[in-house]
């Protein structure tokens, strides 16, 4: 049903999980994954349209919140977001350590 990812520009669909709010990506099996490496890679056109329609239905079915497609570059079979904002989301958190990790970093540096 799903084509293997080609190298180069493509799309994946992202959203936030309704219950815990965390970043998720539409996966190959119609589920949602936290790992963009497991995301379903879509091409513009009917492929993306069907993905968007499915994601909208998942929004309506209260699985995820406000899904939207993002631009990615497939490198070695793995989709990498084009926009920096989406790179940060795909990395599951800020670009800097926080909380106790930050305290450990600061303690180690002094």
């Amino acid at each position: 049903m799903f084509k293997a990812a080609k190298e180069g520009p493509a799309k994946v669909i992202t959203a936030n999980d309704l219950r815990d709010g965390l970043v998720v990506f539409l996966d190959q099996n119609g589920g949602w994954t936290h790992d963009i490496g497991l995301a379903r890679v879509l091409e513009d056109g009917p492929d993306l349209e069907s993905g968007n329609a499915y994601a909208k239905a998942q929004h309506d079915a209260r699985i995820v919140v406000e899904p939207y497609p993002i631009d990615v570059e497939v490198v070695g079979g793995v989709p990498v977001p084009v926009r920096f904002r989406e790179k940060i989301r795909a990395d599951h958190g800020p670009t800097i350590p926080y909380g106790e990790d930050e305290r450990r970093k600061l303690a180690a540096g002094t």
């Binding site: 709010g21 970043v23 919140v65 920096f84 800097i96 305290r103 970093k105 600061l106």
Partner: protein, 552 residues
């Protein structure tokens, strides 16, 4: 401190139950996201880049130890072990799960806290001078009047759907530490020649994409008219503020387009109608609220503390911290302590659960059970005896809370930026961290002196960049982060919007640019007594432009 009365308790408890039902219905599918979103926003729940965010109101920034401990408990149990203190004197948790938020709100209600009116187009949490009730230079303690405004504005049915959000700040000192002139309404509490209490009203200030300084529309509104005059301002805004364009909907645009004189006329016409009605504040009610904020029983002590003098002589780091992070208290032998949430290389405004618990302990032990959040994202212990300063310092230092940088170049305001925020275009936190690391040397920071750097990751200006002595605005340009520098801004009693100095800088280059600005200041200042802002006001942008971009 103010305690909830039966009305506060009832409406907060009811609201928690109501929101619990709304979350249940959202999760079970009875209501859609479109229906749920305005409801969650009315309870301080946002959906950000990585997760939900819960913004908790801290009225005029005042916290007691039980509240701090509850915030620490919530951070551990429901979040990732920390919280973020904001420029609105609030606290944000960045990782709560939606399903847990009703429980979190229930815990908050048990310590008289909530998240009501921390979002949406309503009157937001009222902010005040973080040194209120303690600063030696204070004329009037602004907190009782901030509390009266809180009670009046909480769930005020007429002002739940304003054209846009509405922020009120109150100060009671000539030296404005509450940035009142960049609020929708800024109140300066003062006394007239006969000792009567009243308020100067600044209306139509604000930051965001159209920064404006508020207009003084009445220099002295008597205290009994505080609510009627404020309600008159809100009514004029509610009626005439623009609802057709979100970006032109704040009262600053209305004041700008209508003119301050005409706004004053409209406000005072409405005020004349309602002034002697139900909103006239009875004297006994004012006295009742004031009594909650009476100075705790601080006994005057000798102005010099032998304990402190000995400790200072023995410990240079302590001496530096005392010089930088304490301020004179109205009661002899005491000090106001600024606990810096700006460790070099850390996230401005963040505190871990453990740090919050320490602050609770220290507030209890040394500050008569009070702590404050400042809009500069630090914590204040307002009533510490000089004799207790060495012990407080030692405890703070053990938790990396004793950075001696209050008011210095590394005491940077930064919004969460693109690391957390769905609206941001660029990161703020790592810029603040890199600038702080560049200026980490204590002697160099002190040589530079008072310098406020403020960083926003988008035009909405949560990091107050327009009023930074050096302001930094992150933008996205061709997919890259880019940073515009403004100079000469100020949020004090001589509030000024900074001027863009020239073309922006890349993520890599912006720290060098800031250093050039600071080095230029050191070269051109007349003496150490002339701080950055004074030098900028004397010389203008020219020497800084030349340093950054070469001769024109």
């Amino acid at each position: 401190m103010y305690r909830y009365d039966e009305f506060d308790r009832a409406f907060v408890t009811e609201r928690v139950a109501q929101f619990r039902g709304q979350v249940e219905r959202r999760l079970s599918g009875e209501i859609s996201e479109d229906q749920f979103k305005p409801l969650r926003l009315q309870n301080g729940v946002y959906l950000q880049l990585h997760a939900y965010m819960l913004r908790i109101a801290i009225p005029y920034g005042t916290l007691n130890p039980a509240q701090l401990r509850m915030l620490a408990f919530i951070a551990r149990k429901y979040d990732r072990g920390y919280g973020h203190f904001t420029t609105r004197q609030n606290l944000q948790f960045h990782w709560p799960a939606l399903k847990d938020i009703p429980d979190i709100l229930g815990h908050l209600a048990s310590v008289e806290m909530h998240a009501i009116q921390t979002s949406g187009n309503c009157i937001r949490n009222v902010t005040a001078d973080h040194f209120a009730g303690a600063a030696a230079d204070e004329v009037v303690d602004p907190r009782p009047y901030a509390e009266i405004l809180r009670q009046w504005s909480s769930l005020h049915p007429e002002f739940i759907f304003l054209p846009r959000k509405f922020k009120i700040a109150v100060t009671g000192s000539e030296r404005d530490r509450a940035a009142i002139q960049v609020h929708d309404i800024g109140l300066h509490a003062k006394r007239d020649a006969d000792g009567n209490l009243g308020f100067a009203y600044y209306v139509g200030g604000g930051l965001g994409r159209t920064p404006m300084i508020g207009h003084l529309i009445n220099d002295f509104v008597p205290v009994e008219d505080l609510l009627s005059y404020t309600e008159a301002v809100l009514r004029v805004y509610n009626l005439f503020g623009r609802r057709d364009n979100k970006y032109k909907a704040r009262i600053k645009i209305l004041v700008h387009e209508t003119g301050a004189a005409e706004i004053k006329r409209q406000v005072e016409e409405e005020w004349a109608r309602i002034r002697h009605g139900a909103l006239a504040l009875p004297d006994e009610e004012i006295r009742r609220i004031e009594a909650y904020f009476a100075l705790p029983g601080l006994s005057p002590r000798p102005a010099r503390s032998i304990v402190l003098e000995r400790a200072r002589a023995a410990d240079a780091a302590l001496a530096t911290w005392i010089g930088q992070n304490t301020r004179p208290h109205k009661v002899s032998g005491h000090a106001l302590v600024t606990v810096s949430l700006k460790p070099i290389g850390g996230t401005p405004g963040d505190a871990t659960a453990e740090q919050m618990e320490l602050l609770a302990d220290l507030a209890e032990r040394y500050s008569h059970g009070e702590a404050r959040v400042s809009h500069e994202q630090n914590i204040i212990l307002p009533h510490v005896a000089l004799d207790d300063l060495p012990a407080a310092y030692e405890a703070l230092a053990a938790q990396n809370l004793a950075t001696a940088n209050a008011g210095l170049v590394t005491d940077i305001i930064a919004c969460p930026g693109l690391d957390y925020c769905a609206l941001a275009n660029a990161r703020s936190i790592p810029i603040a961290q890199r600038i702080a690391e560049r200026f980490a040397d204590q002697a160099r920071q002190q040589e530079v002196g008072d310098l406020k750097i403020k960083i926003s990751g988008c035009i909405n200006a949560c990091g107050h960049h327009h009023v930074g002595h050096i302001g930094i605005l992150g933008v996205e340009k061709k997919g890259e982060e880019f940073y515009q520098i403004t100079l000469g801004g100020s949020a004090d009693e001589h509030a000024t919007v900074g001027e863009i100095v020239g073309p922006g800088f890349s993520y890599d280059d912006v720290v060098d640019a800031v250093e050039k600005v600071v080095d230029t200041y050191l070269k051109v200042r007349e003496s150490r007594a002339e701080d950055f802002l004074a030098a900028y006001r004397r010389l203008g942008a020219a020497p800084f432009k030349e340093a950054l971009y070469g001769a024109a």
